[in-house]
């Protein structure tokens, strides 16, 4: 176990190092400068500014300095906000995104599990069809369209929840719904398929033959075995939520990191782009590691050693 963990962590660091390297050099090929009025600056000023941002050094030195800084959690200074360290920008914005993402994940997965389980148990009935339709519509409507509809009909016309903003709980409700629909639909479909498979397997038949009631069999055996594979979906969900948050945060005025990322792309704020990319990667890699560990813990059939024989 320890050996496996160490190995995984080594590969994580390798991955992050490669991602940092690739993004760093790709960013250097992006056109545009950090200065808004470049043509109005004197050569002396440009020289001093390049010095301040460390842009006058050879590329390889810039690269090494960047890697070195990153080890201390220093991603450089934003081009967009003068004198603001990227790390503090990210720190100020990460909370909102993580909260929103977690809320959406929890709501989506719980509702998805409920809908999926009911559909599987009532397979072939109208309940099943309804659940299928909900899942398909959930997958078929882009979340930014849904966000606009929610905001207009529920926020404005019905006035049930806050239209936009951040700070109060009621302001998180609509964006959470908009973001959770994707995971909800995916979970519901997944759970339904997986439950149907499990329900028709031999040990369930055996349980029934032993005289256990249908509900008991489902509770004791089917649920656990159908839910375990769900853990593997958490990685893809995390990616979907990261992408989704860029749009949803924009529509609902949420000071999150996705919104910041889009803004930094549109303003050529390289240090912020690189910083946020790294934060996304770290998040993703850690989530994948955790899900693998959890998967190994709850399903004894999976050995953590993976493909080795």
């Amino acid at each position: 176990m320890t050996k496996y963990l160490l190995k995984r962590i080594f590969y994580m660091i390798l991955t992050l190092f490669l991602v940092a390297t690739i993004t760093f050099f790709l960013m250097k090929f992006m056109p545009g400068s950090p200065y808004a009025n470049e043509e109005k600056l004197t050569p002396q000023q440009i020289h001093i500014m390049n010095e301040q941002y460390g842009l006058n050094k050879p590329l390889i030195v810039q690269y090494l300095l960047y890697l070195g800084g990153m080890l201390h959690g220093d991603f450089g200074t934003s081009f967009q906000y003068s004198n603001q360290p990227v790390s503090s920008l990210i720190a100020a914005r990460l909370g909102a995104s993580v909260q929103l993402g977690l809320q959406a994940l929890i709501v989506g997965v719980i509702l998805g599990v409920i809908i999926g389980s009911i559909a599987a148990m009532k397979q072939g009935t109208w309940v099943d069809s309804t659940a299928t339709v909900i899942a398909i519509i959930g997958k078929s409507v882009p979340n930014f369209v849904l966000a606009v509809l929610l905001q207009y009909y529920i926020g404005l016309k019905l006035g049930w929840f806050s239209i936009a903003g951040w700070g109060e709980f009621s302001q998180t409700i609509l964006p959470t719904i908009a973001l959770s629909v994707g995971p909800l639909a995916e979970t519901a479909r997944f759970i339904r398929t997986s439950m149907v498979d499990t329900l028709s397997s031999d040990y369930i038949e055996l349980g029934r033959a032993k005289g256990l009631s249908r509900m008991e069999v489902i509770r004791k055996h089917a649920m656990r075995n159908s839910f375990i594979p769900l853990v593997t979906l958490i990685g893809p969900y995390a990616v979907a939520l990261m992408t989704g948050s860029m749009v949803i945060e924009n529509i609902f005025n949420i000071p999150g990191i996705g919104e910041q990322f889009v803004k930094s792309i549109l303003t050529n704020d390289y240090p912020t782009i690189m910083g946020v990319t790294m934060v996304y990667c770290i998040g993703l890699v850690v989530i994948l590691l955790i899900t693998d560990i959890i998967y190994g813990l709850i399903d004894p059939r999976i050995r953590l050693a993976g493909g080795e024989q």
Binding site: S33, G155, L156, I163, G165, N253, Q260, K263, L266
Partner: protein
Amino acid sequence: MKLKKVFSLGAVALVSASVLAACSSGKSNSSSSASKQVINWEESAEIPTMDLSKATDVTSFNQLGNVEEGLYRLGEHDKVENALATSTKVSKDGKTWTFTLRKSKWSDGTPLTAKDFVYSWQRTVNPKTASEYSYLFEGIHNATEISAGKAPVSSLGIKAEGDYKLVVTLDKRLPYFKLLMGFPLFFPQQQKAVEKYGSKYGTASKYMVYNGPFVQKGWTGSNLSWKLVKNNNYWDKSAVKLKAINYTVQKTPSTAYNLYQSNKLDAVVLDSQQTKNLKSHAGFTLRDTAATFYLQFNERNKAFKNADLRRAISMSINRKALGNALGGSNTPATSLTAKGVVNHDGQDWADVVGDKEFNQYNPSEAKKYYKKALKELGLKSLSFSILSDDTDSGQKTTETLQSQLEENLSGLKVSVANVPFKTRLSRSTNGNFDIVVSGWSADFADPISFVDLFTSKNANNNGKWANAKYDQLIADSKSTGDDAKRWSDLKEAEQILLKDQGISPLYYKTEAWLVRPSIKGIIYNGAGLNYNFKSAYVAK
């Protein structure tokens, strides 16, 4: 069987959607009541910095203009009103200005003196500060030399004589000098605060010191909401009626309008479709932004050196249709100097210099010029690309132009490139374009703020259009002491530019807003400081 269920469910969904649509919420009480004197304002972007030496954008300057105070404050129609200056003396040659200052305090209670002005100006022109706006100091003695690192900072033409007298020396007469003094870039800064906060100065509300009508609270550096609260140390605090202004950054126009409708916001900028539909709405307000959008032709490309081709392109553009596509509040442009910026002898300068021949939609003339141009160039057909921003209006502009040009000029192939703002600037500067849609907003209300751009050496002249007569006229206008000659030089210059289509003006940018009708007393100016909330209040 399954499918039938799908359809019936779809019907249910549709019915419930229409029920939802039919419902409408009751009107809640407006958050901006007369007793509270609090308003909720929209800003379209985050504040990049509150350090006035480093600010380059509208958002920062709007904030600074309301939390800081300079020699003057701009009133209605760019009227210069005394603020910290109580009296002003100008020498006969117009090169020495002496200001007497009133006694006033910073928000931390320390007195504000002439030294704070000297410190602030020296800090801005110091190349170490790397202020991107320091070019506006051009004309003040030694400013350009200092920015280029060729003269010591202390040689700047500003001196404090005692605590309350300020003497400024200019290298040449600046007819618009008073207007500049109302711009936040020329406001004072407290040396103690700048040094105390070091690199954190101006990166959050708490790392600032204020002397304006309001103080800022709750801005942490990159967040989307903050507020301005009345400043109790302000010299003229009895004139300030608002207790607070709550700001939120709005990035999606439909969200902002939803918030306005539910009384969570008191002012919103409208996008094109909103403008069209809300024209007759109470509170509909048009704001001239002192900005002109125009085409620059890259004359490094041989084809665009041909004036007839430039004219053909200009005359194929239906500017009215373009304005409608963009929203209907933008007006077709016939001049470089924006409408509503300069009023000379009771006439809008844009009307005085505007060219009605080549900036008018005239497809049949356009075709003639196009044929002539192709013949002169020895070409059968032509293809080029139009560069613009990737914003909504940038995309609509290129799409409309592409459509109009291809329709009117046969054999023409137009492609479009929409890129982020800074990429567009950098491609323009490097000459990496065929035609670029550029915009310029006046720094101060004078035509020179526009026509200076297209002298052959100016860095903003991205297309490298060059005309010796034009250069001469602009130079003359700067050196002459005769006001009438200055105006006639400026007029002749701009007319040359427009006749030769060195640039093709497209439209004057006008923003449409919805502002809660109960809010009164806001002063808006297109050039320089946009919003002045000092005298704003909520009426009963």
